[in-house]
């Protein structure tokens, strides 16, 4: 299957500056995509957790990941401690995948907009995954909050990689920085 091309992000105004996500990328990370986030943990080991919604903060360009605190304590601690985070967004039906790496990490309380994104997320993922043979109950187990408290990890994106499976996977987006 041919990788699905994205519209590229806008060029940053300064080298090494923040990455402004294109409207297409912003829409993609807020759509029915699986989200995994990783950071450096203790003893130079990676840590990882699933996010159960993501959102672009339009004013600041920061990305906000909603995480179940019961699951993501090590990720949050690692990301805060080392100041960097990587997040992968992948659409199950097409395998279209991007990874965004960033810094200026903050742990925050969820806003009303975060809560709204988190409520939209499970039905969106059920609709995405049912055609692939997954039941709503199965998807619910994977993407629901299970009553856990929710924390938000926000970060400033710096670089975006095309990660749709194939030999090009892992390359920075050409029209990006």
């Amino acid at each position: 299957m041919a990788p699905v091309p994205h519209q590229g992000p806008e060029r940053p105004t300064e080298p090494g500056g923040p990455l402004r996500l294109s409207p297409a990328d912003a829409a993609f990370i807020e759509s029915s995509v699986s989200i995994l986030a990783a950071a450096e943990g203790a003893e130079r080991r990676p840590v990882m957790a699933r996010a159960i919604a993501a959102r672009l903060e339009p004013d600041t360009g920061r990305i906000r990941l909603c995480l179940r605190t019961v699951d993501a304590a090590a990720l949050i601690a690692g990301a805060l401690g080392h100041g960097r985070v990587a997040a992968m967004f992948s659409r199950p039906q097409t395998n279209e995948t991007i990874q965004i790496k960033g810094d200026e990490v903050r742990a925050e309380r969820p806003t009303a907009e975060d809560d709204a994104a988190r409520r939209r997320y499970p039905p969106m993922m059920i609709a995405e995954l049912m055609p692939l043979g997954f039941t709503p109950a199965f998807v619910g187990c994977v993407v629901s909050d299970h009553g856990s408290s929710i924390g938000v990890l926000s970060f400033m994106p710096r670089v975006l990689f095309d990660q749709t499976p194939g030999p090009q996977a892992g390359r920075p987006r050409e029209c990006g920085r």
């Binding site: 299957m1 957790a49 699951d71 187990c141 892992g170």
Partner: protein
């Protein structure tokens, strides 16, 4: 709850979660600590302390693993939806051998299933030591309802153990797989003396038995299980030409290159091939399949490996011949009714192929045996034979202990029964059998190849 409070688990307890086609997340670190997260297609269970990861492309994950070997995997059980995280340390990459080939076959199935057949190609198997496993807290679905395989295995092994000879053992195994395991489609292939081909000697659940069909060692799921002497299990149908069975065998045969189509489902969802071997070497392959995806688990693989080991004892015993086959007592040859039209037999020495009327019967050692038996029947009026006397016939050119005469006789007996041509082999005792001929025979030894496909 912190990650440290999560329950430690053993790899064997979660190996079913390694199945399926839900992509597995992998997090790695660059030497400067920059995290990287992506998907990999497969995590393969190697042993209780090791997994192997698919290496398909040289990418950031690969570069990170080589420079900074600690990685974290996150995977989802395809039945319970439970999430597990496995901390691993990369050790080495294998680009050939059993683990690599097993993963390559499995990847072909996953690739076909996910529409990635042209993209997924295994470059290596990255062997990693498992450091720790945690279950991520959260809601889960009830565990799979699966039969307890140990009692099933015990009953099947008991059936197999009761059968003294190979033919009966093969039939008992096929029947027990169906009855006890619910595996309706199965076949046993044995290794020919040349060590390069396998031939089907028993099957169950197919419209055409495929008895006598051949497959090259190294070809498809069955051939790969033989070549690498490892279980090969595909849980999703593959369209990969390397694993699609019967591609060669189903092409229209020409002249002497007659071929019996391999027994097989047109659209298998799951396949499992287990080598039949003992300390002296490979003897064959036990093969099962199902139209359902995800039909066979690691536990099935274990159970069939045990049965294959038990079958190996019977196959080896058959290969070395009966211990004390007495000379067959002469018996009167029942005369074939002369009123019936004769059966024309044609034999091509080039590859020992035999045609009955216009129909291809068999070739190779089994064809040669058939020609000896019908010759003795026509010229000496004999119908009773022993395996031992056949083994000593120079025209069979049997290498000592290498060729499994009994298996070839089973093959011939079953091909004749399928053809229902008025010639049959009937077992009369341990290492003894009778040729039954219902019509007069006319034997023709041919020099040239047949002009076209006739069978």
């Amino acid at each position: 709850m912190s990650a440290a409070a999560a329950t430690p688990l053993r790899l064997e307890a979660i190996r079913d979660a390694l199945e399926g086609f839900i992509p597995i997340g992998i997090a790695t670190l660059a030497p400067d600590g920059t995290p990287n997260v992506t998907y990999i297609s497969q995590v393969h269970y190697v042993d209780p302390d090791h997994v192997a990861l698919t290496y398909q492309f040289f990418n950031k994950t690969r570069a990170n693993l080589l420079a900074s070997p600690r990685a974290l995997l996150q995977l989802i059980d395809p039945v319970t939806a439970e999430t597990f995280r496995i901390a691993v340390t990369y050790q080495r990459t294998e680009t050939s051998g059993p683990v690599f080939e097993s993963m390559r076959a499995k990847l072909a199935g996953i690739a076909s299933h996910t529409g990635m057949a042209g993209v997924f190609r295994l470059a290596g198997a990255d062997i990693c030591r498992v450091e720790s496993i945690e279950a991520v807290p959260g809601d889960v679905l009830p565990p799979r309802e699966r039969p307890r395989l140990l009692p099933v295995l015990r009953r099947t092994a008991a059936c197999l153990g009761r059968e003294p000879d190979l033919a009966a053992a093969l039939d008992a195994l096929m029947a027990a797989l169906d009855r006890e395991f619910g595996i309706a489609h199965a076949a046993v292939f044995l290794l020919a003396a040349d060590g390069r081909t396998l031939y089907a000697v028993a099957s169950r659940g197919y419209a055409e038995s495929g008895i006598g069909a051949e497959i090259a060692v190294g070809d498809g799921v069955i051939g790969m299980a033989a070549q690498e002497r490892i279980a090969v299990r595909i849980n999703h149908m593959t369209t990969d030409v390397n694993y699609a069975r019967g591609v060669g065998a189903r092409m229209a045969p020409q002249g002497l290159d007659q071929a019996i189509p391999l027994p097989g489902l047109d659209r298998p969802g799951s396949q499992l091939a287990v080598p039949i071997e003992d300390g002296q070497g490979l003897l064959g392959v036990l093969f099962v399949e199902s139209p359902e995806d995800m039909r066979f688990s690691y536990d099935h693989e274990d159970a069939l490996a045990v049965l294959a080991a038990q079958l190996a004892v019977t196959v080896r015993r058959a290969a070395s011949g009966p211990r004390a086959a007495r000379k067959a007592a002469p018996a009167p040859v029942p005369a074939a009714p002369a009123a019936l039209p004769p059966i024309d037999l044609r034999y091509y020495r080039a590859n020992d192929s035999v045609f009955i009327g216009g129909d291809y019967l068999i070739k190779g050692v089994a064809g040669s045996i058939f020609w000896i038996l019908t010759g003795a029947w026509c010229e000496e009026g004999r119908c009773e034979f022993t395996n031992r006397e056949l083994r000593l016939r120079p025209e069979l050119r049997l290498p000592m202990h290498a060729e499994n005469l009994e298996a070839r006789l089973i093959l011939l007996e079953r091909r004749l029964a399928e053809k229902d041509c008025g010639i049959a082999i009937e077992k009369t005792g341990r290492g003894r059998f009778r040729l039954r001929v219902d019509r007069p025979l006319r034997r023709h030894e041919m020099q040239a190849e047949p002009a076209a496909r006739e069978g």
